[in-house]
Amino acid sequence: MKYVTLLKANIKSQKSSFIGILTLVFIITISMLAVISLWMNANAYENEQIDRLGYGDITYWISEIPDRDSLLTQIGNMEEVEKATAEDVLFFDEYHIYNSADAENKAHSGKDVLHMHVWTKESGYYIYHDNLTGINEDAEELADGEVYVSPAFASLYEAHIGDEVEVGIEEGKETFRYTIKGFYEDPVAGSALMGMKRVLLTENDIRRLEEMIHAAGENALAEVGSAIHLYKKTDSGVKLTDLQEALGKKTNLLQMSGFSYSKSTITGFMLILQNIFSGFLIVFVLVLMIVALLIVGHSISSSIEQDYVDMGILKALGYTRTDLRVVQSLQYLTAVLGGMLPGIPISAAVVKGIDKVTVTVVGILIPANLPVGASLLSLGIIIAVIMGFVFFKTAKIGRITPIRAIRGGAEDVYFKSRMTAQIHKTNLSFFLAYRQLVSGKKQYISACFVTALLVFFFSLTVRLDAWIGPDGKGLMDSFACARYDLGICYEEKDIRREVEALLEERGHITASYQYKLSRGFLNRKEYLMNVISAPEYYNILEGRTCIYENELVLTQLAADELGIGIGDDVKLGIGDKEKEFIISGIYQCTNDMGSNFGVTKEGYESFYDEEIDEFSYYMFYLLADPSGLDELKEALMDTYAEQLILDDSSWSGADAILTVISILMIFMFGIIVIFILVTVSLTGSKILYKEQHDLGIYKAIGFVSGKLRLAFALRFGMVSAAGSALGIVLSAYLTDPLANVILRVCGVSHFSSELSMFRMFMPAVVVTVLFLVFAYLAAGRVKKVEPGILIVE
């Protein structure tokens, strides 16, 4: 009972601190639980769904297997393999989506390959409700001519139910359109950030198309193939690279045309966005936690100063140091729990909201339920950290003695500061603000560090935004292995001559080179392979580009994966040949989440005895003036739609990631605003309380509230300007390495942001202005301070 009375009184008298800390913990709880849910649920759910759909440890997508059953038996008989299964797939290199709502019924071209699978209720694929809010347990059977697509079609091609997916079997022949009946959850390629897309059709439609593809023979634009799912033995400790090597030796699987993804690669692709999102949220939660501790520290110190006399009196009445510390601790614990408890259910709602917003990008609906164990553990850690800090900070209560308290308590005694500047008539408010600031520096330290951290964090998002670029160009450049503005795959020489003349006229070609995307094996592990005729355009990070035929460059991630580096030898396998290559450098290319390498055109062609068709390469162009690229592409498509394929270095996931980054930035900015508001109101209210005597004096000699409020706000402006400067320095040194860590999950091994002066200083200016404005508003209570405060009756 002795604690309850004091606790109630303390909460009542320090209502603003109580509410402020409660708010901070509320935000931290939501952010923390959201990141835990996103991270853990996304990983668990994605893996669960891949397993449920029967995807093995590695999946090979292969066309035209001569004898699939015997291949499966061969693989299944390997000692490292548990089992191998197969699924029918139709592969299309081209497809279009027709929007029924569009009056012109204009088509969106598919950005990569399209796989068609059979759907039955037993196939295990989940169908979403039409509004994408959850799984529709009673999904209707597909009729012939209907198709289920992943929600990524909505973000990539603005597809709606009722729109059509069109494929062709033979050039210039009849095309086939399938009406989108709904959206299904695709845990394999559902992410909008993945090029490959999969759709589900009826068995009848699949068989019909299969027959037509076979009938078209060599002229077919599509292929009939299989997805081979390979499961390694659960007790086998064999590595996937060793398993692949064994497959190469014991079967002819690797010689067949196709590509493969391990389960972890699929998961990695699918969860790129969640991982980036979670990474930023983790950093954000850490920043918020430090900010909260700074504010709690300031609040405790100020409370002790404010209640110094009361505490002395309580000690005189028999309360011990422990009693008073317990009361203080209980007070903060109440605020912490008060923020945490409502934060728990709200975090589930936030995750649900994030899910809803991002489902068309990430392709799966991540469960919004909180992982109980991890959530409790994280909340326990938050409580332990804050309460440990409170206990540490309240130690000074022990130094309060009744006699000292009664003799005047902890009244401020100001000492001259070396930083003191003379007060002048002009800009009096500024000079007074500066004096007040240097006289009570300690009070503003927390606000200064809070600013630094917030500016640092804000800069991190701004730098990320700058790196991505306004239209995602920066991001796309990092995905590309080499710089280019436009890539064109020609079908004949004359067309190339004509098109290049047009490019020269409209954009002026500054450079051009040949490019091909293929796959190869490095030390028997399959990787995506870039081939270019002008290796000087590779984005080299370390070492040098590959100049000679037997040299290659690879990403840092691939190098780490293989345990090799610059100067090392590596076995490069293409087709059925294998040669020794030397690693000449590390380059940046985020394709395949950074698992790729690059060679010279000569190096690549050395694997083939016959001459490679020149038109199997893309021509990549760099233009002096790429501003008219959109019109240029339109003109090319109008004239040469049938004779060339365009690649403008745009990336299917760019729009999606830009949307998510925008949401992320708005969210972060909102939280930053709330934190500044809480910091200012907490720090400001304590300072104003402490200074009300001086404020009374100022008013008595003729100062008006406006001038005093301005001086008060200027103090915070100065503190936040100093903090911002620190934040800018911190961000200059730490943001790139930190972003590197976060972005490594999507294959960016080298994040380097270049900021304009505006972008560099913008976070500092915004944060400083917010501090100023909030401080001015918080100082509104100056109006209530009357000179009468000085009256002693």
């Binding site: 100001y414 007060i423 004096r435 005597h693 100022y698 003729g702 000179p787 009468g788 009256i791 002693v792």
Partner: protein
């Protein structure tokens, strides 16, 4: 008796405080005139409303009824912004505690009042602040903070501050209440001297040694002015006789 012109006038001045559901009338329909050149001292028993009257007259506190005119302008109903010029140029305050801004030096505490006055340039302000501190005999402590000087030095600096803008009236509320004997004497000498130089002073005190400095004494009881005694200008050699005179007057007021 010849009187100088009225510089301040209160009419029907009231101040009430809510008290346990009722009203406590601290000032009760006071009519009062303060004359130019006077050193007016308000005395009265504890709780009589002396300080309340002082602050109601100075505009530091709002009366609940009546009005206060200063140089013919009603000041009792002025809002903060309109009152500020009076506080800057017309009124100076000396409190029981020095009430100096804690993080400004004594010099700055004095000068900052001058900086508010648009009619003075910074150089003039600094020179006047220096001169005032010298005249108060605290020039050696000018660069010290209030926490680094004695109570007497702080109070003298407070008087210098009150005089900075050559105000029409200095309001002093028990200015020697927190001082020792020596400092009390020094502060009273200063107040007497500046009054001799023409400075109007309205002071509240319960100290007879302070009261004898007055040229006019007012007695306040139960929120009303119940007595008044004019006095000749103070001369130190008359101190004893003035003390007797004031004592006798106070006795007649049943003090």
């Amino acid at each position: 008796m010849n009187r100088n012109k009225v510089i301040m006038k209160a009419t029907g001045l009231c101040k009430s405080f809510a008290n346990n559901g009722g009203q406590n009338h601290v000032l009760n329909m006071i009519d009062l005139e303060i004359y130019d050149g006077d050193f007016t001292v308000i005395m009265g028993s504890s709780g009589a409303g002396k300080s309340t009257l002082l602050y109601a007259l100075s505009g530091m506190d709002k009366p609940t009824g009546g009005e206060v005119r200063y140089k013919d302008a009603v000041i009792s109903s002025l809002k903060e912004k309109k009152m500020a010029p009076y506080r800057i140029r017309e009124f100076g305050f000396v409190f029981q505690q020095a009430h100096l801004v804690s993080n400004l030096t004594l010099f700055e505490n004095v000068a900052v009042t001058g900086y508010l006055d648009r009619q003075m340039r910074e150089k003039e302000v600094r020179e006047r602040a220096k001169m005032l501190l010298e005249s108060m005999n605290v020039e050696d402590a000018a660069d010290r903070l209030p926490s680094q000087v004695s109570g007497g030095e702080a109070q003298r600096a407070a008087i210098a501050r009150a005089m900075m803008n050559t105000p029409g009236m200095i309001f002093a509320d028990e200015p020697t209440g927190a001082l020792n004997k020596k400092n009390t004497q020094e502060v009273l000498d200063i107040l007497t001297r500046i009054n001799e130089n023409g400075q109007n002073i309205l002071m509240v005190t319960h100290d007879i040694k302070a009261a004898i400095r007055a040229t006019r004494l007012l007695y306040l009881e139960d929120g009303r002015v119940t007595g008044e005694m004019p006095m000749a200008p103070y001369r130190s050699e008359d101190a004893k006789s003035r003390e007797k005179q004031v004592n006798a007057w106070l006795s007649s007021m049943e003090w």
